[in-house]
Symmetry: C2
Subunit: 713 residues, 2 copies
């Protein structure tokens, strides 16, 4: 008897360990775990049947997603019905239903309504939209409500995306590597496309549709011309076919000199009629294969990439020539503002503004200028980019980085929601108080209808897609904020945690607490108080604030921190580079004075004496040390919190996160110790009492070497 009991224990353990059943993270936030407690009944009562008259591929995707999810959540398969039924979900467009008891105006082609109503005496839930893709989005929204434990009795939700283009940018190379990818190789199996379209493509589309992402740039902005050859267009078209039912358009990054490389043209001058004709013909060729192709993304005259400036033409000249090629097909061009020049001695942080601000008004109406959140490069913290608000006649597209090039790569738990939120909520004062970056991006500040937001994807072939379970939250948060930039990072974290682990507050609360402080902790243990760009060369992995020997000055950490005997920080006021003058006057004024500059941005804008007193009364030096200490301590706390969650999380995901928190703790301490060993050698001050000395001496940290660090092709 004992043996038999034992056997059942073993068997459950086995079942949990068996590959097919493993919680390996592949299902993302669409895990649809069997609901516990009263939830399955509550959900089942509102999903007794599905009335879904549409039969487009998109409508079927919505219906199938409901069937699949509800089956998994409740273990009961909802019936399909064509007549109203108590507890049914009714998916309807005007086209499929004739008329509807809700108004759909203002929802556009992507918005939806979810309304609890009674029809022929039967209580039902209507999901309605102007188009089938709106129904799909509404379906995912209803599932999100259901799985996060919302009451489903009296729903009255109206939602439409605030931003038109909600895109992932894949920095994926045609050879399968991913620049700044920490989740394995590219999920695009270019070699076996278009013949072989594995199921992962569909699951990618499902995941993106579930959070409202409606476009994807397939290839790296450091593009190869080959992606525009006929075989690669056919491969892209095969992906477009998979993605289409899920409302996802595809886009391509293009290399400026493609006409020369592919067709032997003598020039890539945008004013050369042959060049323009080449791009027009290429656009026609692409649209023949992919009628709903989205358009081009361009990195030009940036970090060695060719561009129109090579021919003494402006970025606008270049963008407009491409824009004319795709315009007849309804396509757009996204032109990146991430530029800085080796022969420009000016503050790197100023160069994009200097190049682009004068071009405002010169771009064609199907061009967006894509601007990174900050003026340097996806640092743990940067003040918002001064271009936001500064180009009122040009739609500016946000470029966030979801992949954590500078924030712990695949292993550190550093939830990016707060970073995204901080930037979107920042006030540019471009049209007075309340001129937030979000309003620039969603077009409401300056009346643009063409609007966009891009996130550099953190997706690879790793089974968990994003390199870790918690990195999935960044993908999720990006999509949710792209739909509605006013959502709070915390609310999004709660949604994600509930769907990913369990809606039980005993799980959600501590998980969200861990997440919400994690990015600030990374700032603290990497680059506190406005420091930036202190990482190792090339791989951007560990600390190396001492590096001073790279060819271009602005590649060296010492360029950024400018630590000397007196103090530390980059003077961007009038006495320095005067980058502050690129902001609107109220912002410029705030950043010009160390007293009004938020302490979190202090050393970004000011060179501050080591002994200067901060608001806390501490000296800068002591505060710097304490920030480093706090960053490390936060990680130690996350380890404790996670350990307490052991009973509530499946073994596999528990172990992965535990292992990664262990790595994070070691590396946080390494960042702190290496940075302090270096800064102390310059500041020449003792550590405040209670702060431990670095584990090794400075030379030990300098000798560290990582020849096989990922993400650096």
């Amino acid at each position: 008897m004992l043996a038999r009991l034992f056997c059942w224990t073993i068997a459950s353990a086995m079942a949990a360990a068996s590959p097919a059943m493993a919680e390996d993270g592949y299902d993302l936030w669409l895990r649809h775990a069997k609901a516990e407690g009263s939830m399955p009944q509550a959900i089942a009562r509102h999903a007794t049947a599905i009335m879904a008259p549409g039969n487009s591929a998109t409508a079927l995707a919505a219906r199938d997603e409901l069937v699949r999810s509800l089956t998994k959540i409740g273990g009961v398969v909802p019936a399909l019905t064509d007549a109203p039924q108590e507890g049914a979900i009714w998916l309807a467009t005007l086209a499929s239903a004739g008329n509807l008891p809700v108004k759909l105006d203002g929802l556009g082609q992507e918005g939806y309504v979810i309304r609890s109503l009674t029809r022929n005496g039967r209580a039902m839930t209507l999901i309605a939209a102007n188009s089938d893709i709106g129904l799909l989005y509404g379906t995912y929204a209803w599932l999100r409500l259901a799985e996060t434990g919302a009451s489903l009795d009296r729903l009255d939700v109206r939602s439409a995306p605030r931003v038109k283009l909600r895109l992932l940018n894949h920095w994926d190379n045609l050879d399968g590597t991913v620049e700044r990818g920490y989740a394995g190789q590219s999920i695009w199996d270019w070699w076996r496309l278009p013949d072989w379209k594995g199921p992962r493509y569909t699951d990618y589309a499902r995941a993106n549709a579930s959070i409202g992402i409606n476009g994807t740039v397939l290839n790296n902005v450091n593009a190869k011309s080959d992606s525009l050859t006929a075989p690669y267009i056919a491969k892209a078209a095969a992906l477009a076919d998979v993605f289409r039912p899920y409302g996802i358009k595809i886009y391509l990054s293009v290399k400026w000199t493609a006409p020369m490389e592919l067709s032997g043209l003598k020039t890539a001058d945008p004013m050369d009629p042959q060049v323009a004709a080449w791009w027009k013909a290429k656009a026609n060729e692409i649209y023949k294969a992919i009628p709903d192709f989205g358009g081009f993304l361009v990195k030009a005259n940036s970090e060695g990439q060719p561009g129109p400036q090579d021919y003494k033409r402006s970025h606008a000249d270049g963008a407009n020539m491409l824009a004319a090629a795709v315009k007849p097909h309804g396509g757009i061009v996204m032109w990146r503002a991430f530029v800085y020049a080796h022969d420009n001695p000016d503050d790197r942080a100023k160069q994009a503004y200097s190049d682009f601000k004068p071009l405002d008004g010169q771009f064609a109406d199907n061009v967006l200028v894509q601007v990174k959140n900050g003026a340097i490069d996806f640092q743990p913290r940067e003040p918002f980019h001064p271009l936001f608000g500064a180009m009122p006649k040009t739609p500016l597209m946000m470029e966030f980085q979801i992949t954590k090039e500078y924030l712990g790569q695949s292993t550190h738990l550093t939830y990016l929601g707060p970073l995204f939120e901080e930037t979107l909520d920042a006030d540019t004062y471009a049209k007075g108080k309340g001129s937030t970056v979000a309003k620039v991006i969603d077009g409401s500040l300056e009346g643009h209808r063409l609007t966009g937001i891009a996130g550099v994807a953190n997706i690879g072939v790793d089974r968990d897609w994003s390199g870790s379970i918690f990195n999935q939250a960044d993908w999720y948060a990006f999509g949710r904020l792209a739909w509605n930039p006013d959502l709070s990072a915390e609310a999004i974290a709660r949604e994600w945690a509930a769907q990913t682990f369990s809606p039980d507050p005993k799980v959600v609360d501590p998980v969200v607490t861990m997440m919400m402080g994690s990015r600030e902790a990374a700032v603290d243990y990497m680059t506190p108080l406005g420091l930036a760009h202190l990482m190792g060369t090339g791989h951007h992995y560990g600390p190396a604030p001492w590096i001073a020997d790279l060819a271009r000055p602005e590649w060296n950490p010492v360029y950024y921190h400018k630590a000397d005997m007196r103090g530390i920080g980059f003077d961007r006021t009038k006495t320095g580079s005067n980058a502050v003058a690129q902001y609107a006057p109220p912002v410029a004024k705030m950043f010009a004075d160390p007293k009004t500059t938020p302490e979190r941005d202090l050393l970004w804008f000011h060179h501050v004496a080591w002994d200067a007193k901060l608001k806390s009364g501490e000296t800068l030096w002591n505060s710097l040390v304490h920030h480093y200490d706090e960053g490390v301590a936060y990680v130690a706390n996350m380890q404790k919190t996670w350990e307490r969650l052991r009973p509530a999380v499946d073994v596999e995901r528990f172990n992965q996160t535990k292992a990664f928190l262990g790595i994070q703790y070691r590396e946080a301490k390494w960042w702190r110790d290496a940075s302090l060993a270096y800064f102390q050698s310059i500041a020449n001050r003792p550590l405040p009492s209670g702060s431990l000395p670095p584990e090794h001496d400075l030379n030990w940290y300098k000798a560290q070497n990582f020849p096989y660090a990922p993400g650096h092709p």
Copy 2:
């Protein structure tokens, strides 16, 4: 009602499509599909309970594998018991059971017995062995019998491995790429080891143990010194810990100049005492971390790798120095014989023999010389390597290539079982008739106790491990033949198909038929009649028999086919390179005469006139064309067979194979057309009637270019 019925259909479809349930190939031949018909009852009757007193990690692995498998096969969880019970499986060693009703002598540490017997009046199945790893092998053997539909009533099986070292060689680089890998990146996540040990490592060990593989060389023979640094030793140790319960030892490839690169030694001369001391210390360091470390694999003085010859020392000098370093720990050295030199004008096929034959008797007793199956390089067909049988005093280890560098890479269905079998069954005549390669390898011909066989792995992070479902069969066949070189490729294919798809003969028969002719088809459409090495430069992917401009003569296809106006083929008789003289006299005599040379090897050994008559009465030219035609036709037939299997195979695996067969057909035709376009330009003869002209002209084929072909780092 109709709607409800419909709903169930949808739901089943959904369930099938859901990621967690998908037949994505991850489970390999350990899929343990729910058995159909009377099978579950038949199996359940012989597995009512498990009596498994052992409690080592290996014994638990055996018990857990039974529980997991039986649960999946029959849906019923077998009980664990400690007393004999009707229908129980009894796993026992002398140590765990005290005494046993079977004799275990002759089984060694890895063999097993499976015996149906009655104990205390109860019919049971005993799986017994001298060690726990033998129990694990016996467990997998019993499961294989059960799942292939064998009668389980009167089992009496004794089995012990014929070859001692049964190893995979991973050509995996520390940056995650895999040389000649076509199944995605390396499964070794070096960057996150030793902290993070994902479940895939365990599943890898299970899969290997299930077919008797007992060792794995983790890194590429083109090795980096870094794999011998402390951090990488710790990472390797973490993997060793995962593999140990499954009987799998780890080995490392080493770079000859590691003492210079890692420790600044001035030389890597094997006779230098400092060098020998360095390796001794390094071996001690490794064994401290991995007490059961297997040993070293070495590619030296081969294709640009450094080696002892750089110091005017022999391969034996080098191997023996390393062997002395690992000898105190029981380790071994595998020294590859794959050598050819850019400054050696002799026939490349002769060089390994010329270098190594004179060294016979000079190697230390813990050295094996690892020899590829043929004298060139894993071609679709090669005669057996002349070293087999030629070094009686030296244990020769076979090196097969499981990854299909030259046989269609990830997409072509070309089952390698017949290739392996053909080589193992080849008769060297070293000690008269019956001196097969298999007897050289298993040591029986020359009385060696240290024996080995290696397969270059076809494993990567692709969900299906091997790049395609059918490529899994090559991994499986390698393991099974390594255990018992006398198994037939067809019997192995039957086992594999039954476990992978279904034991139903309606599935197994056509699948096995497809498989068994597929390698010959690849020979026909790529390199018929003894041709070899006609592929494109670098990536080794498509046809390029015209290439004549590479720096080293033996890199060029024209070096191998030597086609001219008169005829085609490499004269390796006395009038040519006289490579035939490297074989034992009866074999040499057979190969010296085109009339006695098997037609399949004809052009390997002879330059034959285009109009020479073959046995069939056809001219060589016409026969060549017909072979190409037959190869393509075979693929077309596989497509038809597979289409007929649609109802019997799950959607996902059906679709993958269908897509790949489509690629294979296109590429088979391309190989045929490109090869014939080229050879016809030299032979200047018409195609025989009924043979279609190539689709394009020769220049079209020459212009094909594959910059992103996988597997070529």
